[in-house]
């Protein structure tokens, strides 16, 4: 695995969230749902074929989005300029700049690539369309009269979609898994991979150990790993993606043991439902620190290099927010209204309505007279 780029993604993930909080406190940022505690999921992006696999990423999975975006944008070279442009794009999302490539300033979503699909802020609704992409793509490639090159996805694409353990309670996730399993049972190709990050809490509601029971009951092929361990995350995701690509069956990766840090979002009153000890334990479960330790252990970086990287990236992220917050926001009603739909295809009006020359308007007394006589004529002709 490319150690330095991974570390930079992990660190950038944290810094982006940190600065989104600062921006919000300054009145310049409008989205503070965090990725903190889940930074090391970035390694999952390396298990995807970013040129042909699709992804729809839950809002906590900024790390995966960054790593995937950087891989694509840099052609796998991981140059600093590409990363900076990504950091700027993310900052644009947080500050609702109209130059945000993902939503043009309408919202703050992860995505931006051709094969990225947007996730709304309601839970788990990204799951059914992901199953739809998997099913639809296989169907599309099998249709005569449809050229494979005209289709959006490669024939062997895998469709990755992520969510959190809270979202696993949601009917949309359960329904999507059900359809994927049904498709598998009916032998329809459905190469969808669900990535489930488990931090055992759904805003203020703890999981109470229910998730393992739920996952057991789903009957979907499952791969598990410690969500804090970069190598583990990569391995498990790779196994799932390879499995689904090879067998064309659905699978699920369970990223276990994550600890959510700094609450759900800036507005979250963690102290109302977590004890001081619990909060302290979360602070100490620092995934960025773990990633750095791992990186140094591989021998590819030193602590001193990481320190330089950290201060460099902090500078880059701050500059990105400074720049993005000055960019134009959404200010024109007509522009937002136009974005509700693709433009209407111009269709010529049919006025005056064509009616055959001797037929009076349907529904009128004259019309009825004509038709009655026509019918009598038909009957006489028999």
């Amino acid at each position: 695995m490319p150690v330095k780029p991974l570390l930079k993604s992990v660190i950038s993930t944290f810094l982006l969230h940190y600065h989104s909080r600062v921006a919000s406190a300054c009145g310049n940022g409008f989205y503070t749902i965090g990725p903190c505690g889940e930074e090391n999921l970035a390694a999952a992006a390396l298990a995807l074929d970013n040129d042909r696999d699709t992804a729809a990423l839950h809002y906590r999975h900024l790390g995966i989005s960054l790593m995937r975006g950087w891989t694509s944008r840099s052609g796998g070279m991981y140059d600093d300029e590409s990363l900076k442009s990504l950091l700027l794009d993310r900052a644009r999302g947080y500050t609702v700049s109209s130059l945000d490539p993902v939503t043009s300033g309408n919202h703050c979503c992860l995505g931006g690539g051709e094969l990225d699909f947007l996730v709304t802020s309601t839970l788990a609704s990204q799951c059914p369309p992901a199953v739809g992409r998997a099913l639809g793509n296989s169907l599309a490639h099998s249709l005569p009269g449809v050229s494979s090159t005209s289709l959006a996805f490669n024939k062997r694409s895998v469709h990755y979609v992520t969510l959190g353990d809270g979202s696993a309670a949601n009917a949309h996730f359960l329904a999507a898994v059900n359809l994927a399993r049904y498709a598998e049972h009916r032998s329809f190709k459905c190469p969808v991979v669900f990535g489930l990050s488990d931090n055992q809490v759904s805003i203020s509601l703890p999981n109470y150990g229910f998730l393992p029971k739920l996952l057991d009951s789903l009957g979907i092929k499952r791969f598990e790993c410690d969500g804090n361990n970069l190598e583990g995350v990569y391995e498990a995701t790779k196994q799932a993606v390879d499995y689904s690509r090879k067998t064309q069956k659905p699978s699920l990766v369970h990223y276990k043991g994550l600890k959510r840090r700094f609450g759900h979002a800036a507005t979250d009153r963690q102290t109302a439902y977590l004890s001081q000890q619990e909060i302290k334990a979360h602070v100490e479960a620092d995934n960025v620190e773990r990633a750095i330790e791992w990186g140094v252990r591989t021998g590819e970086v030193t602590y001193s290099e990481v320190l330089d990287t950290l201060s460099g990236l902090e500078n880059d992220v701050r500059k990105a927010f400074d720049a993005a917050s000055l960019e134009p926001k959404v200010t024109e009603r007509t522009a937002v209204m136009a974005q509700a739909s693709q433009p209407e295809v111009a269709t010529a009006r049919m006025l005056p309505f064509p009616q055959s020359a001797n037929r009076p308007t349907e529904g009128t007394a004259e019309g009825r007279k004509v038709r009655l006589s026509e019918r009598r004529g038909e009957e006489r002709g028999k």
């Binding site: 309408n106 639809g136 599309a140 009269g145 974005q339 295809v345 006025l351």
Partner: protein, 329 residues
């Protein structure tokens, strides 16, 4: 009408190799035979899904993203409620992406308003019309076929179009007595209805004094009501097929009338025609018809739920006659 609908869908399947028709019980021909024989002709493109509208609609979204042109049939209009979040998501996706790329698809909302299998759940008469979805309702097979062609064209360009099908019209042949007044010829190739077209049922002798604006079942109801009025030739019925916004054609037509009845088959408070009143009330310079200066009234279905075994709560002929009388004082 049902046969024209089947034919229009078949025509689209024949000419668009990437079109796929998905729904519940559509392979055997559907609850109203609209997809009769289509599965036989296109076995891999007419597909049954299990009865869960969330995943049916979600699949439709994914199909569109994969490059297919999906037609998603909701077998009874009420069941759209069962998959409502996914339907809303289909409507919002274009905006969410800043308008860069559409997720074009067609919804066929079957089993709307009064029908043979009654009761609330099979005769639903309220409509969800979020921004991002074009909602249309045709009253006859000829217009349906023309309108379906437009829907396909718009969906190919990335729009989401929902066609609302009134059950009572599917097999309707006669308007008054046994006049075969509701049978229509299938339209010629190339006849395509714009969203902004409306259709006036009037007299060859010129415009009447009262316009009854309606759609779907309301067109037949209003035409039947007209015949019971003292001066039927004074009453024109305008079939306003676009429901999600006020069509240009309606503005063009209503300028000529001083008396207007809006006859809406949906429940009061959630009835599409009310959504057009703001625009129609504007002055002509502002694109309206100065509705406030006209005599107008609104007739709707009752704001309650529909009991089994009766059509009590639906818009009926007497309602429309009452409306005509009100504006004619």
């Amino acid at each position: 009408m049902r046969k024209s609908m089947s034919r229009a869908i078949a025509e689209a399947l024949d000419t668009h190799p990437n079109m796929v028709y998905i729904g519940e019980d559509v392979q055997h021909g559907g609850y109203y035979l609209v997809t009769d024989k289509l599965h036989k002709k296109h076995p891999s493109r007419v597909c049954d899904f299990p009865p869960d509208e969330t995943t049916l609609i979600g699949a439709g979204i994914g199909y569109s993203q994969a490059g297919l042109l999906p037609v998603v049939e909701i077998p009874y209009a009420k069941y759209l409620d069962c998959g409502l979040d996914m339907f809303m998501e289909a409507g919002i996706l274009n905006w969410l992406g800043g308008g860069k790329k559409g997720t074009g698809m067609i919804f066929r909302l079957q089993g709307f308003d009064r029908g043979t299998f009654g009761g609330n759940f099979h005769t639903h008469n309220q409509l969800h019309m979020p921004p991002g979805v074009d909602v249309v309702c045709f009253s006859n097979g000829e217009d349906y076929a023309r309108g379906f062609r437009n829907a396909v064209r718009q969906a190919e360009a990335g729009r989401v179009v929902m066609l609302v099908d009134c059950t009572a019209l599917l097999n309707l042949r006669h308007l008054i007595g046994k006049d075969r007044g509701w049978e229509r010829a299938y339209p010629q190739e190339g006849e395509v209805l714009s969203f902004h077209d409306v259709r006036r049922y009037g007299s060859e002798k010129g415009r009447g004094k009262v316009a009854v604006v309606t759609y779907g079942n309301g067109v037949v109801t209003s035409l039947q009501a007209r015949e019971k009025c003292p001066e039927p030739k004074d009453i024109d019925v305008i079939d306003c097929m676009l429901l999600s916004e006020c069509p240009d054609g309606l503005v063009e037509e209503l300028g000529s009338y001083e008396r207007v009845v809006f006859a809406d088959i949906c429940k009061e408070g959630q009835n599409p025609l009310s959504g057009m009143l703001g625009k129609l009330n504007q002055t002509e310079e502002r694109g309206g018809v100065d509705l406030g200066k006209k005599m107008w009234c609104l007739k709707t279905a009752q704001r309650t739920y529909n009991p089994l075994g009766t059509t009590l709560t639906f818009l009926n002929v007497e309602d429309v006659i009452a409306g005509i009388e009100e504006v004619s004082k």
